[in-house]
């Protein structure tokens, strides 16, 4: 499975440690909140809220350069619009990979 990278954050911060730390700090804070919100909307089986959570998480997937995972998230988002959980397992796996990566930062 593809692994997250910090290439985009590095390009953006262009060697500025302050910018790098700010961006990483925001992701470390925002990602767990969004993941928790995703998990709780899944428990409630609220398709609209799940779709919203997936949409928000998609940007983080993008920021970490996970192009294939981004496509999975996109397709999962579309499935949710049809009230289908197809690709949920794959999407959850992506979230786990990101969670583990964030722990190393």
């Amino acid at each position: 499975m593809e692994q997250p990278t910090l290439d985009y954050i590095n390009r953006l911060s262009n060697g500025d440690e302050g910018i790098f730390n700010t961006l990483i700090g925001v992701i470390k804070k925002e990602f767990p909140v969004e993941r928790a919100s995703y998990d709780s909307s899944v428990q409630e089986k609220d398709y609209r809220l799940i779709e919203e959570s997936v949409h928000r998480l998609k940007h983080k997937i993008n920021v970490f350069g996970l192009e294939d995972s981004y496509q999975t998230a996109n397709r999962f988002e579309q499935n949710l619009r049809k009230n289908s959980f197809e690709l949920k397992e794959e999407f959850d796996e992506v979230l786990t990979v990101i969670s583990n990566f964030i722990k190393t930062l």
Binding site: Y8, N62, V63
Partner: protein
């Protein structure tokens, strides 16, 4: 150029902040996580450019655009390419940035905004012409013509073949349509906020999410009518 950032995700706002600062020709006047405080700001202040996220909960970027009387130049930011076509329906949307936004692409979009000349309002949001003569009208109930002062009406509700006209003193059930009464009510005072409801804007007590409290009635606001309602409110 003075600019505003509107995006519900903090990381997206931070990234845009970095990109604006690196660009050098932009001055950030505000950064908002939701549409309503941004609308309030835009009602009182002018900006040259807005970086606007399309996909936001409750009130999305296109909803916000519909509330703007004189929209500045807008650069849309989104994770979804599917909205691109819709974006070009508006003359003042100068570009469309896909997340994650690279700085070279960002600079190009800003350059486009700087060069773009907007023709005087192709986007004319419907101006509300106040009805100077808010004259009484008559309704036929059981062969009696009853005079109603529009200012006393707080709600009109459509139910089947009838409409219910609610005033502070009394309610009337009239065999008519919402369209017919809408034509009689002063447009400066009333707004159809749902296919079954017309409300008196002056009688609103509060607005929460997708409903309005008016007198004792909680009335749903349809998604398509929400921007017009927000535009008509005198937000502090």
């Amino acid at each position: 150029m003075n600019c505003l950032i509107i995006d519900d995700e903090k990381i997206a706002r931070e990234i845009l902040k970095v990109l604006c600062e690196e660009n050098g020709s932009l001055k950030i006047k505000g950064s908002y996580s939701s549409a309503l405080p941004a609308i309030k700001y835009l009602n009182e202040n002018d900006v040259d450019l807005i970086f606007l996220d399309i996909h936001m909960p409750d009130f999305n970027g296109f909803d916000l655009i519909k509330t703007l009387k004189n929209p500045p130049k807008i650069i849309l930011t989104t994770s979804d390419p599917q909205f691109a076509l819709k974006a070009f329906e508006y003359d003042f949307i100068v570009d469309y940035l896909l997340k994650p936004i690279e700085s070279s692409r960002f600079d190009k979009a800003v350059q486009k905004a700087e060069n773009k000349v907007i023709e005087p309002s192709k986007f004319a949001s419907k101006s509300v012409t106040p009805n100077s003569v808010e004259s009484d009208f008559y309704v036929n109930i059981d062969r009696r013509l009853i005079k109603i002062n529009p200012a006393s009406v707080y709600l009109v509700e459509a139910k089947g073949d009838y409409i219910h006209i609610k005033t502070e003193e009394q309610n009337y059930r009239v065999h008519s349509t919402l369209k017919k009464i809408e034509d009689k009510l002063p447009p400066s005072m009333f707004l159809k906020i749902h296919r079954s409801y017309i409300i008196n804007l002056k009688k609103i007590i509060d607005i929460e999410d997708n409903s309005v409290l008016i007198e004792r009635d909680v009335i749903p606001i349809s998604r398509s009518k929400r921007p017009e309602l927000m535009r008509r409110l005198d937000l502090l």
